[in-house]
Symmetry: none
Subunit: 417 residues, 2 copies
């Protein structure tokens, strides 16, 4: 099946936002064994959108729209596609009830245009929106598949992964399905990982082995088309075993979970509690950890200290450690160590992580941008400190520091009996 | 002039990389007053690339290619466009010398295919590549403009900003440039903001007024084409004044900065310090604030308490407030208030923000997902508490709570003398 993704939104054509939806959907369709031949972006303009549909119709069997199904007058995708297909727009009653309930439960006035989000193209299948109000649509006409997803990623992703994925499997009736397994790595860069595996990546055509980088992590997708899950599993297992042999020490999960979730699971297994003391990461480490549902079982809390006075007041680090001639300073191995130990004591956690360094854009204490100390303190045990020298901007220094802290903890937990 | 951007590369269609080039080029063309009507992505396939050119030819006056001009057999853009235009490929001698010199000066063997990077479409203008080896091309045929840029951003950007920009100004002879101003809003949803301004948005063609949503915020772009900056400014000022009159109370900046930066600037002006106590937002509020460079001037720190014991130990909230029959519980107006006041006292800040609530996915203390209390405590002054009922998933509840806390502080700071 040949697919074309049409992203609708003038903000994309003005360069105000980047089309990350096209990337997500391309990956998702590849995962279903559907080839994307074209991606198109068109503005919030009915005439040009119709033109784009006409073009896509000549070169694709599946046209996947994202954007333009919200409440405003600019949101024209359903209207335009309905018109192109010669169908009416109807109201999807469950969605309308949901919209009305949404506003009435907040006691807020509903702007009339919000009703547009319950629109359905006559004869289409509704795609439920778990995280928003606009219902998606999917329809087959004259052998071409059409699906409409919202533009905001937090609504689009669950709709793609849930109801649209199921509809595609049902409608396309594919027998040789694509099976894949995600392997997730940390503590190693993409190019180093690729260098270790280059013969496997280049040499294997079935399963295929495709690495790609995420912020502070690397992901490998091992994929094969097979007639049954059993057949696919056997092929995938053999390839994963080859990969594990080479770079198993960096592989923190054989499924698609972020590093913070892998760490939380290990803590849960061992009934251990975690707390953090953050300086240059400014709360990012806690934010990553608490983004995982259920993290309150293992994560106690974090003390974010953004000044020396706070390191003294909230963490009890002696001021003589932080300031004055000959003091190691806030950005030092010994301060990182003290921060990790102190937060452990204050919270009563089993593991304390501390991050202190220079996120930039300017140096601090005469120390260069990118210098970061990460300390991991075990209650009643040792404290280890890692010194990192990152290149890259403020945001990249912060995320890589937080991910490295998590990776180092994961490593230590793996060895802890 | 109507432009279409064609990005060439199978890696884009597989979702291995995101098309940031399209964003950069769209912004750059908007800055030159050139309207981008379509963005297209096509793989490294001559037949489908030719198809894309044929489509673009019917709807654009300027077709801007990026990608596919490197050394490999996959790099087909020059070959395909030359063939489409009925022109030969020639060698650009200065580029060829540069390529040969590049390899000989490093003493490394030159793979023959590297010569392809010196190819020029007969009759085209060469666009110098400051940061790489592949020469760009620009040509006009039958009234349509064509330009070819490399795919790697570090080669593409200087070629666009330098030689291509100059060529476009020369060839198109444009005098009217596009000017625009970004207005940023918080504390109001996109559809409500649009409802307030619908006559302005629909009625104005010069300047144009375009709203779009960001997570927890709304942005409006006011744009006009004018012969001079003075003329443009006058037109934009008049429209911004109309908007300010209607919804000024939600407009936190007349430039493109995030809410957290606007809050930090207000704090700086008034020489005030901020600290936070976070429960369900788990560090996200601190992370947002500290993502702004220089935030250490106003932000002291944050105490993230993810359990009742931590609220008691680290913030000194009485356990009787949090647990037991008749206790208000951690998710309550009075706990939010105490958290904000306590963090103010502990850190010595002027403003303390607290967030406590249920981010989900499951309820807590028998209270529903989405119920969040936000408290703002002024040292030596009042504490205000807002109760929110969000719909949406964990991530959305967290981000909207953090942004709302910042908006409420911005409001209070605006009124504080």
């Amino acid at each position: 099946m040949k697919a074309e993704i049409i992203a609708v939104g003038t903000e994309l054509l003005l360069g105000q936002i980047v089309n990350t939806n096209a990337q997500f959907l391309s990956q998702g369709l590849a995962g279903l064994g559907i080839d994307v031949y074209f991606q198109t972006v068109v503005g919030d303009n009915a005439q040009r959108l119709r033109q784009a549909i006409e073009v896509a119709r000549t070169r694709a069997d599946f046209i996947l729209f994202t954007g333009g199904i919200g409440p405003t007058q600019d949101d024209l995708t359903k209207d335009t596609l309905a018109d192109y297909l010669g169908r009416q727009l109807l109201i999807h009653e469950p969605s309308m009830s949901k919209i009305e309930h949404f506003f009435s439960s907040r006691g807020s006035h509903m702007v009339e245009s919000n009703r547009r989000q319950a629109n359905m193209i006559e004869g289409s299948v509704p795609l439920a929106n778990e995280t928003g109000l606009a219902v998606g649509n999917a329809i087959v006409q004259d052998g071409t598949l059409y699906a409409l997803l919202p533009g905001p990623p937090r609504e689009m992703k669950p709709m793609f992964n849930g109801p649209l994925r199921q509809w595609l499997i049902d409608v396309s009736g594919q027998h040789n399905l694509l099976y894949s397994r995600i392997l997730r790595f940390a503590g190693i860069g993409e190019s180093s990982l690729e260098a270790e595996l280059i013969d496997i990546i280049d040499g294997q055509t079935d399963p295929t082995v495709a690495p790609y980088a995420k912020e502070g992590e690397v992901v490998i997708r091992v994929s094969t088309k097979a007639g049954s899950a059993v057949e696919a599993l056997g092929k995938i297992d053999r390839t994963v075993a080859l990969i594990r042999e080479r770079v198993g020490q960096y592989m923190y999960a054989e499924e698609d979970i972020p590093l913070e979730e892998a760490v939380l699971r290990k803590l849960r297994d061992k009934r251990l509690k975690l707390s953090c003391a953050e300086s240059c990461s400014g709360g990012l480490l806690s934010e990553l950890i608490t983004s995982v549902p259920g993290s309150s079982g293992e994560f106690l809390g974090s003390i974010v200290t953004y000044t020396n006075t706070m390191k003294h007041k909230l963490l009890g680090i002696p001021l003589s450690q932080l300031e004055g001639p000959g003091a190691p300073g806030a950005i030092s191995e010994s301060t990182a160590q003290l921060m990790a130990q102190r937060v452990n004591e204050l919270t009563g956690s089993d593991w304390g992580i501390a991050i202190t360094g220079v996120a930039g854009p300017t140096e601090s204490e005469g120390k260069p941008v990118g210098l970061v100390y990460i300390a991991l303190a075990r209650r009643g045990g040792e404290t280890t400190v890692h010194s990192m020298k990152w290149s890259g901007n403020r945001s990249s220094v912060r995320i890589r520091s937080a991910k490295t802290a998590l990776y180092r903890l994961w490593e230590l937990l793996k060895d802890e009996t």
